[in-house]
């Protein structure tokens, strides 16, 4: 008896194994699969040509229940956002994102159409951001999770790394932001409160479910010689705190200057819109810090919202219209901070 007779399940298309599933996923990814690199997906590892002197890499894990909920987001949104979040991490460094490795654990309740939707979301966001998937891993697990590693190239000039760091803010620098901080959190609030039929909600829900990373602005910032940025993934104030801590400076944010999304105040009122702009995460807009002239020279408009100060090092303070400090709770993704679950 030939060996394959002992393992009919490996060749029966009605019971696809890991390899058949991976083939199906690669096919469904279409142009988002990196099939023309030196060693494309399908071997032990992928290989591509390095296109700079520096390799830039990040990894992010998302778990169902913690990072997304089935009642506020479909699997296509989950795939889209996961790519965006990863690409945004490289944009926040002023790096060029290129290739993604995607590992997913499929939980017991996931369906074939869920997997297809996840793959479609991954592919669409890859095409939007000009990146491709070079490899991955698919396993069964007790819960559905998605982990993406994004690898790209750093910019060098005269042999020196040009990057947007958290630790390069200096006293006297200006703080600016792209887009409308809080739009994603406002969109989530609209979904949770059943307000999605409100015409004001549409752009905010899109900001929550289909955000894009600001690779374009980061590229301009590097070209202008800026050297300090972070993306708003944890929330505007908390991400400013990361810059303040790494740079050992204080940051003042003028709350009135924050460019709220016009629909946010219409939908939730100005006070809550501001709270979500200060504390809500997952916007994937960029906070840029540096000389005013360089910030104003960017091809994309950014909004000046604050300054680096020689006070309260490591802390960000939001100031009200009268210049008084506001008390604002950070609401970012510090998932491990609750005392009952911290290891």
């Amino acid at each position: 008896m030939p060996p394959h007779a002992a393992r009919p399940d490996r060749h029966a298309p009605t019971t696809p194994g890991e390899f058949a599933l991976i083939s199906r996923i690669i096919k469904r990814l279409g142009a988002a699969a990196a099939l023309d690199i030196l060693v494309p997906p399908g071997d032990d590892a992928a290989i591509w040509r390095a296109d700079s002197e520096g390799v830039v890499a990040t990894i992010d894990a998302l778990t169902e229940g913690t990072h997304w909920r089935a009642d506020t987001m479909g699997f296509e949104d989950v795939g889209w956002r996961a790519v965006t979040a990863n690409v945004s991490d490289l944009a926040a460094m002023g790096a060029e994102p290129a290739y993604l490795l995607v590992a997913t654990s499929l939980g017991p309740s996931i369906t074939p159409s869920d997997v297809d939707a996840l793959v479609d979301g991954l592919a669409a966001s890859c095409l939007e951001h000009g990146v491709r998937i070079a490899g991955g891993d698919v396993v069964r697990g007790p819960a559905t999770m998605l982990t993406i590693s994004t690898i790209g190239s750093a910019t060098f000039k005269d042999g020196q790394l040009r990057a947007l760091r958290r630790n390069s803010a200096r006293v006297g620098d200006i703080v600016a932001v792209t887009g409308h901080p809080g739009a994603s959190a406002t969109g989530l609030a609209a979904i949770e409160r059943g307000l999605t039929d409100d015409p004001d909600a549409a752009p905010l829900v899109a900001a929550h479910r289909r955000p894009t990373a600001r690779v374009d602005v980061a590229r301009q910032a590097i070209a202008e010689g800026l050297s300090c940025a972070i993306d708003i993934s944890d929330g505007l104030l908390q991400d400013c705190d990361h810059i303040a801590e790494a740079s050992k400076v204080g940051i003042e944010i003028d709350a009135e200057a924050i460019p709220l999304h016009p629909a946010a105040a219409e939908l939730l009122g100005a006070d809550e819109a501001l709270t979500l702009a200060l504390g809500g995460g997952e916007d994937f807009e960029l906070v840029l810090v540096g000389d005013r002239s360089k910030l104003e020279a960017l091809a994309t408009d950014v909004t000046v919202i604050g300054r680096i100060v020689d006070m309260h090092p490591g802390e960000t303070v939001a100031l009200d219209a009268g210049g008084s400090p506001m008390s604002v709770m950070r609401r970012g993704w510090d998932q491990l901070s609750s005392s009952d679950s911290a290891p």
Copy 2:
């Protein structure tokens, strides 16, 4: 009231959040943390200098219950093996592994000492394999999972990629293997059957819990001009199948030639030891395919176990002492092949 008064938990060391946990992990990693690269862990992404024209990358996800069980393996073993498995994927390409990104989801039952053990295992295996951790992500989730992405550099000669591929086996090539296939599966069997007090069990249990990747042999293979290899992660026959499928050739394995671990037959009997050698995965030994002269020229001894043939393309056939095909069930890690769980 200054803003920080509204969030006391963020600065209280008794309730560490994500950032404090990450700091503790980086400290505990010691020399396994890549603190001297261009942008070390702590920014949005890590940056290091590329040291070849080619970037090599892989990703692997492990879930508790599917890839390891608490009753057969401690968290230190889990960390060790996860690094080994990743490094082995790059060794199987003839690449130089360099940096790891580690994402972990901590399930509800994990304890602080479990996390420490996991980190210790990661660090020890990194030091053993000469790689370092450049970044990571730690999240809470409904289950404990570990996903590692390993990035390294490819070898080039005269501008041409030199890699060990699955698709480069040719009819007439010889098939060789490093080490003792089946040692890991035999070690697992010893643990499951309570045989760990048997003196024969010790090296097998070590092969299961603390395997090492064969980066050294892969380096020699590239230097000798070999171009085809795979690591034994799914099981000897199944991994040979991957070569057979990618190269569109048939493979014959002489079962009697397989270098069983001397203790394996002592512990389980020759028949079961052979079955586990043919079907058991997770050895992280290498199957090398090519000219006999090149295989014999390797500085590390390898064992010739078979040949590439112009028959049964895509299939591997194990032959008994009389040269007749054996019926052997593949037992590799094709976790998604059961019909009740395939999406």
